[in-house]
């Protein structure tokens, strides 16, 4: 099987974010960047499919920064090769989707995997956009996947339940947490990843569809809540400490 996994380079979720001096970007100084956590599920699923059915896994990223570090990470996990498309400036989702579609349209991928979202801008748009541009079916937020030949059965999370859909290859899948348990790359594979190829592909020029006007940190508003000693209020405070404040 010919498998593509689109990955992105995002700030570590434990990083404290500051807005840059232009008010439109984040200050990247001191920020540790990682492989987008949802993309690890996508990679793991593709690698497992390769291990089961044979074939190749290619990892791809579009980034304005040098993203070879996360591509090496994908190669260490088990991808066979990587494609790096360097953008001249921070691209919007539309530009990223166009670049992915343009660079893979002739490569006959059976499945194209994505994380369900990148945890930096959280646009949720790219998997569907790429599928549309390539004119292939897509299914998003997939938590269980079965592939038999060209038949694909995907279970996806929907509000309060699960939905099972069937589609056929080629198709696009965006991975939800729980799809699998991503592996830790092994040191011998990290050493071998150095020898795997990373192909650099020129940026496909297309105008951005969305312009960032400003970004701001959320204002920490404290809203007081007064509860009594009734059973329902006690239940509410336990729920609130558990689910809202997440301290218990």
């Amino acid at each position: 099987m010919n498998l593509l996994v689109c990955v992105s380079r995002v700030p570590d979720t434990a990083t404290k974010i500051f807005v840059g001096p232009d008010g439109k970007t984040i200050d990247s100084k001191g920020v540790k960047y990682i492989l987008n956590p949802y993309d690890e599920f996508a990679l793991e699923e593709a690698i497992r499919l390769k291990e089961k059915n044979g074939g190749e896994v290619t990892a791809l990223t579009v980034s304005a920064d040098d993203a070879t570090d996360i591509l090496r990470n994908a190669l260490a996990m088990g991808a066979d090769s990587a494609i790096f498309i360097k953008a001249p400036a921070e691209p919007d989702s539309y530009q990223v989707a166009h670049n992915i579609a343009n660079s893979v349209k002739d490569k006959n991928f059976d499945l194209i995997f994505f994380g369900r979202q990148s945890v930096d801008f959280d646009s949720f748009q790219i998997p569907s956009m790429v599928a549309e541009l390539l004119n292939i079916p897509s299914v998003s937020v997939v938590s269980k996947l079965e592939v038999n030949g060209s038949k694909v059965i995907a279970e996806r999370d929907i509000e309060g339940g699960k939905e099972t859909v069937e589609l056929s290859t080629p198709c696009a899948i965006s991975a939800q947490k729980g799809l699998n348990e991503p592996r830790y790359p092994k040191l011998p594979d990290i050493m071998k990843a150095k020898k795997k190829p990373i192909e650099e592909v020129a940026f496909f020029q297309v105008d951005a569809a969305v312009e960032v006007i400003s970004i701001a940190l959320p204002v920490n508003k404290r809203v007081g809540k007064i509860l009594g000693d009734s059973d329902s209020d006690i239940n509410e405070i336990v729920r609130s400490l558990h689910e809202d404040a997440k301290v218990i």
Partner: protein, 385 residues
């Protein structure tokens, strides 16, 4: 959680080194830290982690691919030891023994058939190894050992006892040092060899999540091909240099754990209506920790590169082991004070690291012996003879 790196030592690491360090770091956060306190309390080793550590490639870091290793360098190994000991000294001790004290002597002094028989299986943790040098009456003075090997028609007969042996009870293979015709030689002893037993030592207040054992040899006959090709004290000492190097990194991991917990605690614990981190006496303790950890990080990276270039001496390793373990123990004690009563609770990692580091300070060459090694280096006058 980003770790303290005040002098940007990450800039001195390769991409591979950073990637693997981060993977071991994540592994320790996910798999070691959540479970280690109960193992420490119950005095059990978390044996389910052994295979997982092997799968990461932790045991074979420095050895060639042919023997199940990765062919990586000393800094890679050091970083892994640092992260494991950030979890617990027991986990790092396991890896030190497996890699530096068992795989290393077999790789360095073993015959090709010994290497083929053991190294890959040790790298994959199909075999667990242990290292028998110390005896009940010979710790800092291993040259005085009384365990003997005598030649027989089939091989060698071992008699004697070893003590304080990490993993002895669970080991499939022991590298044992014994005197043959008055000179120290290394021997490989397989589990189950008649005359070889390894009872566990109980009642430790330190390294409680690690198995510590005696090795007892009573007319234990091993085949002639199980001897290693090295004689004299330099054999075991060369292994200890490898392991001590890893301890120098591991100590920084333990210090980072107690420092990080102290910073968090100092910023969140309120007394007299302000965080205790606002008090000068607490700040002074935190500054000591940051300073000593940063210095130790710089020593480690330099020592690691010297090891890789073949320029490091055992004295460099003594310097790093001595300095870093003492500073880590001091950090743990200060962290205990910053955490107040909470510092003694299992909810925080402080007392566990403090108790572990008490052992780390006196194993693999006591702090005092490393002082004498450096004193010997400076003056040319050995104090231990």
């Amino acid at each position: 959680m980003p770790m303290s790196d005040f002098f940007y030592t990450d800039d001195l690491l390769s991409d591979d080194e950073i990637m693997f360090r981060n993977i071991v770091r994540d592994f320790v956060d996910d798999e070691v830290i959540p479970i280690i306190e109960s193992h420490f309390q119950n005095a059990t080793y978390p044996s389910h982690l052994t295979k997982k550590l092997a799968n990461l490639g932790v045991f074979g870091i420095k050895f060639p691919e042919h023997y199940g290793g990765s062919g990586a360098g000393y800094v890679m190994y050091g970083l892994a030891m640092q992260e494991l000991e950030r979890g617990d000294s027991a986990i790092r001790s396991f890896a030190s023994v497996q890699s530096s004290l068992v795989m290393y002597p077999i790789w360095r002094y073993g015959s090709e058939s010994q290497k083929d028989k053991y190294l890959k299986k040790l790298a994959e943790a199909e075999f667990i190894g242990c290292f028998g040098l110390t005896e009940p009456d010979f710790g800092s003075n291993p040259a005085g050992m009384i365990t003997t090997a005598t030649k027989t028609s089939q091989g060698f007969l071992l008699n004697g006892a070893k003590m304080w042996i990490t993993n002895g009870t669970v080991a499939d293979v022991a590298v044992v040092w014994a005197k043959l015709d008055g000179e120290i030689h290394g021997f490989i002893v397989d589990k189950g060899t008649p005359g070889f037993t390894a009872p566990e030592m109980k009642g430790k207040h330190s390294l409680r999540a690690s198995v510590t054992s005696e090795l007892i040899f009573q007319d234990c006959e091993i085949p002639a091909e199980n001897i290693l090709n090295i004689s004299g004290l330099k054999g075991p000492l060369s292994c200890l240099t490898q392991a001590r190097y890893g301890i120098a990194w591991g100590a920084v991991g333990a210090a980072l754990a107690v420092y990080q917990s102290s910073v968090d605690y100092a910023k969140s614990r309120i007394q007299f209506d302000k965080p205790i981190g606002a008090f000068q006496l607490v700040q002074e303790k935190l500054v000591y920790m940051l300073t000593e950890i940063s210095k130790a990080q710089l020593v480690n990276i330099r020592l690691g590169r010297l090891m890789e270039e073949g320029k490091a001496t055992p004295q460099h390793v003594s310097f790093a082991k001595r300095n870093n373990v003492e500073m880590a123990l001091n950090c743990a004690r200060l962290a205990r004070e910053i955490h107040g009563a909470n510092g003694i609770l299992g909810e925080y990692p402080i007392m566990r690291h403090a108790a572990n580091l008490e052992s780390v300070k006196t194993y693999e060459g006591t702090h005092d012996i490393h002082t004498l090694i450096l004193g010997h280096y400076i003056t040319g006058l050995p104090a231990y003879q």
